[in-house]
């Protein structure tokens, strides 16, 4: 092994960069004391993690889902139902939510993975919408009224903090790092290669021994599991959930967009995209305020269109292409 593999070097560098980033971000609360700003930080980290999860199925495996709100909602509802009805600590609730979401993903995937391209996208939208409708009408889960998370006092055991946002911030950071790490590990694993092969050409993948259907199912289950963890976290963070606030279509979109912006199917894309998109959304929303509602949507939409048309490989994709070119 004389000639060091450039790719393995790059992998090690990525890991180092990620650790440094996590360490730096962990120090941010020393500077950022404003509650609103901390709130934006938490949301940014959460969407980085969620988009990273979405990226596993839609970016790496190429099955574009616009129904991930279903898994997000499943995580939120399972966590809070277990917490409020049975007193189960949210830690177990999130894990259970993840498993429920993975199961739903498999059940949804079973018929839908036979569909191609646009058919699949539309199926994910409609099924998530059907789930939303069911939650609106399920009385046990509070129906349209939702669930108010009861106050049990600040503690890590109950994963509930009213006085400070910081514990949520550190959890969100850990969540984002774990989601990134999972992707990092996938990139150099058999599943990772299989998923990318399925995305690029399913027929060729099959001829090389890849079980395409099973690969998609595995990607969907993993993606849904991680997304549901985010749902459980969000429920604890905002301490009130209803179908509108955790299952509406905008969540599906918000999970997809950071990855699209940063670079779909890339390791850093979701994190980079979330770091730009979420603060920008919050900023425009607070600037435009009540009067000019709509400005945030316009900027947002233009950004999405611009990226899709101008830089379809995303920010990270465009950068790495430029680096490859200058290296060659």
């Amino acid at each position: 092994m004389q000639d060091a593999d450039p790719r393995l070097n790059a992998r090690r560098n990525n890991l180092v960069i990620a650790c440094v980033c996590v360490a730096l971000i962990a120090c941010l609360p020393l500077v950022v004391k404003d509650v609103y700003a901390q709130n934006v930080l938490v949301l940014t980290l959460m969407y980085a993690a969620l988009s990273q999860s979405w990226n596993i199925l839609s970016g790496y495996c190429g099955q574009i889902s616009l129904g991930h709100a279903l898994y997000f909602g499943a995580g939120a509802y399972v966590t809070e139902l277990l917490f409020t009805k049975f007193g189960v600590a949210p830690w177990f609730g999130m894990a259970a939510g993840g498993l429920v979401a993975a199961t739903i993903a498999a059940a949804v995937g079973y018929p839908c993975f036979r569909l191609k391209g646009h058919y699949f996208v539309i199926a994910t939208i409609v099924i998530a919408e059907a789930g939303y409708l069911l939650m609106l009408n399920w009385d046990y889960a509070g129906a349209a009224m939702g669930i108010d998370v009861p106050v049990r006092g600040d503690s890590w055991a109950k994963f509930q903090f009213l006085r400070s946002k910081l514990p949520y911030f550190y959890f969100a950071l850990a969540f984002a790092f774990v989601a990134w790490l999972v992707t990092w590990m996938i990139e150099e694993s058999r599943w990772g290669y299989w998923w990318r092969a399925v995305k690029d050409n399913a027929e060729a993948a099959e001829s090389l021994g890849v079980e395409v259907f099973r690969s998609k199912m595995a990607a969907a289950a993993l993606s849904a599991f991680l997304t549901a963890i985010g749902g459980g976290f969000y429920a604890q963070f905002v301490s009130y959930i209803d179908p509108e606030s955790v299952m509406s279509f905008q969540f599906s979109l918000l999970m997809a967009l950071p990855a699209v912006l940063g670079g779909i199917g890339t390791l850093w894309g979701p994190a980079v995209g979330a770091a730009i998109l979420i603060p920008l959304t919050e900023l425009t929303r607070s600037f435009a305020g009540g009067s000019g509602k709509g400005f945030d949507l316009i900027i947002y939409g233009l950004l999405v269109m611009g990226i899709a048309l101008g830089r379809p490989e995303g920010i990270v994709g465009a950068l790495s292409r430029r680096m490859r070119r200058s290296a060659a």
């Binding site: 450039p6 995305k199 060729a204 099959e206 001829s207 090389l208 021994g209 079980e211 395409v212």
Partner: protein, 245 residues
């Protein structure tokens, strides 16, 4: 007679009212290079897909190493040792060349390091050394053909199915292709190739199976095949007559 590796028994493939293969039977022995030839629309690709497991035949069965594999899909057949290339190349365009080949290697190992080593060795073997880190989408068409072969070889097949692997190559490139096919056989693999360019195939293959209108019309060593009346009328007909006239 050496043992049979592939045994196609009475395969019929219907698409609606169209019969693409009618009661096709053929055997391939270990270590052979067999050419599957015939005019356009003879059903070569259909038979190829049946052997590779892309589409289950309407009737008949396929045995590989004495085992009935008719009901197995393409991935399982690949795991048993059947690998193929495509007539229209299907590279994983957004992946690097070495990564393309690794996908194939992963059918035998779960370790990325092992798969990468094997992919490198395979790329050396097919003559793509130095192109490992290029994106597959950036390769020239002849390079893409080699990549397809490398990907298939990385699955450690016993039987390699080459679908018009020489089509579109210059004569010089085709000669290199011929050398590559020989090298594959020398490594102990068996080769079945569909090919249009007769001049290239005939000296290379041990045996030809000729299809016309979905049926096997002749089978034997190339020297005999080119003299076979049915083959001449069905396939070589016009050109042969033109030449003798």
């Amino acid at each position: 007679m050496s043992e049979s590796l592939l045994d196609v028994r009475g395969v019929t493939q219907r698409f609606g009212g169209l019969v693409a293969n009618a009661d096709v039977s053929m055997q391939v022995r270990k270590g052979e290079i067999v050419g599957l030839i015939g005019p356009n629309g003879a059903g070569k690709s259909t038979l190829f897909n049946a052997i590779a497991g892309v589409r289950k035949p309407t009737e008949g069965s396929i045995y590989f190493e004495g085992r009935d594999v008719t009901d197995l899909g393409a991935p399982q057949r690949c795991a048993l040792g059947v690998a193929r290339t495509f007539q229209v190349v299907k590279s994983f365009e957004t992946m690097r060349v070495v990564e393309n080949v690794m996908v194939g290697a992963f059918v035998r190992t779960a370790s990325a390091a092992v798969a990468r080593e094997k992919a490198r060795a395979t790329l050396d073997f097919v003559g793509l050394r130095g192109r490992e880190n290029a994106m597959a989408g950036e390769l020239t068409p002849p390079e893409k053909r080699r990549l397809e072969v490398a990907r298939a070889l990385a699955t450690e097949p016993k039987l390699v199915l080459l679908d018009e692997a020489m089509t579109g190559l210059t004569p010089a490139e085709a000669r290199q292709g011929v050398d590559l096919v020989r090298a594959i056989r020398d490594r102990g693999m068996t080769v079945v190739m569909v090919e249009h360019v007769m001049e290239i195939v005939m000296p290379l293959i041990d045996r030809a199976v000729v299809l016309d209108l979905g049926r096997v019309i002749a089978e034997g060593p190339p020297k005999e095949i080119v003299r076979d009346e049915r083959v001449i009328t069905a396939y070589l007909g016009e050109r042969h007559r033109a030449r003798s006239a």
